[in-house]
């Protein structure tokens, strides 16, 4: 029973970290594509 409690806590921590990274990754990719689009637009002018 105690081991399952530890498992739940460790899994919750890991999934929390993974979700934060996933969220951050999406934001950074969006920012990167926006900057690239801006750069392309600037070049075309």
């Amino acid at each position: 029973m105690n081991e399952y409690y530890v498992l739940a806590v460790v899994l919750a921590i890991f999934v929390g970290i993974w979700l934060s990274l996933w969220n951050l990754d999406s934001k950074i990719q969006k920012l990167k594509s926006e900057m690239e689009a801006e750069h392309d637009e600037h070049d075309s002018r």
Binding site: V10, V15, K32
Partner: protein
């Protein structure tokens, strides 16, 4: 065409990140539930912390070496992107050395009675953390970007050069509470422990690579904005 290539590349990256989530969840389950309690430990179930403690140390070692490699590339090419990559790898290495110390202290409290024993390996890793802390202090002390990158690159090479002595040579040369050659010796770990341990190491390396990529991409974007300004 390039747009389609980039889209498929992003889908592949997303797929690999989901694989990492499943992989690490299975590793955590195997480490805590599936692995049998190890013998010759005060609290036999606590041996399971080794599935997290040693992979953290191995990941930190790989990141320290990566930092030195990018520092060397910077010194050769004088390309600020390599300096950014070196700094990100050093930051990640410091974080993983810190995690190694924390997980080790938890183990030490249960196995050896106190959180801190002044064991040679414990002290050596703290010294390594201080060396990397000095690396970041050095960077902030130099305002000129190019000069900062050059001096930091030289220092990063020095930091990586001290690592094998502090983590391997010194602990093997003097008596230590840490067991010697558990991972690579034939009688160190049984097959179940060995498989879970290496799967955990692969998972930690993949996770650190992902965090490192995020950090270096963000720093790269900051660098581009800085150049544009």
């Amino acid at each position: 065409m390039f747009g389609r290539f980039r889209r498929s590349d992003t889908s592949m990256a997303k797929f690999l990140k989901i694989i990492l989530l499943v992989w690490m969840c299975v590793v955590i389950w195997a480490a805590i539930i599936y692995a049998p309690p190890a013998q010759m430990f005060q609290v036999e179930s606590l041996a399971r912390i080794m599935f997290f403690h040693i992979p953290c140390a191995m990941t930190a070692t790989v990141l320290s070496i990566s930092s030195a490699v990018f520092a060397l590339i910077y010194l050769i090419k004088k390309d600020l992107t390599s300096d950014v990559k070196s700094r990100c790898a050093a930051a990640m290495a410091t974080m993983f050395w810190l995690l190694t110390t924390i997980t080790g202290s938890i183990f030490a409290r249960v196995e050896w009675g106190v959180y801190w024993n002044w064991d040679v390996k414990q002290s050596a890793i703290v010294l390594l953390i201080l060396i990397y802390a000095a690396y970041f202090a050095l960077r902030t002390a130099i305002p000129d970007r190019r000069k900062q990158a050059t001096i930091a690159a030289c220092y990063s090479l020095f930091a990586a050069a001290t690592m094998p002595f502090l983590t391997y040579v010194l602990p093997n040369a003097v008596p230590s509470l840490h067991p010697k050659n558990v991972i690579f010796s034939s009688g160190g770990m049984d097959s179940t422990y060995s498989i879970i341990f290496w799967c955990s190491t692969v998972g930690f390396l993949a996770l650190s690579f992902w965090i490192y990529k995020l950090e270096s991409t963000l720093e790269g974007l900051r660098l581009r904005i800085g150049i544009a300004q």
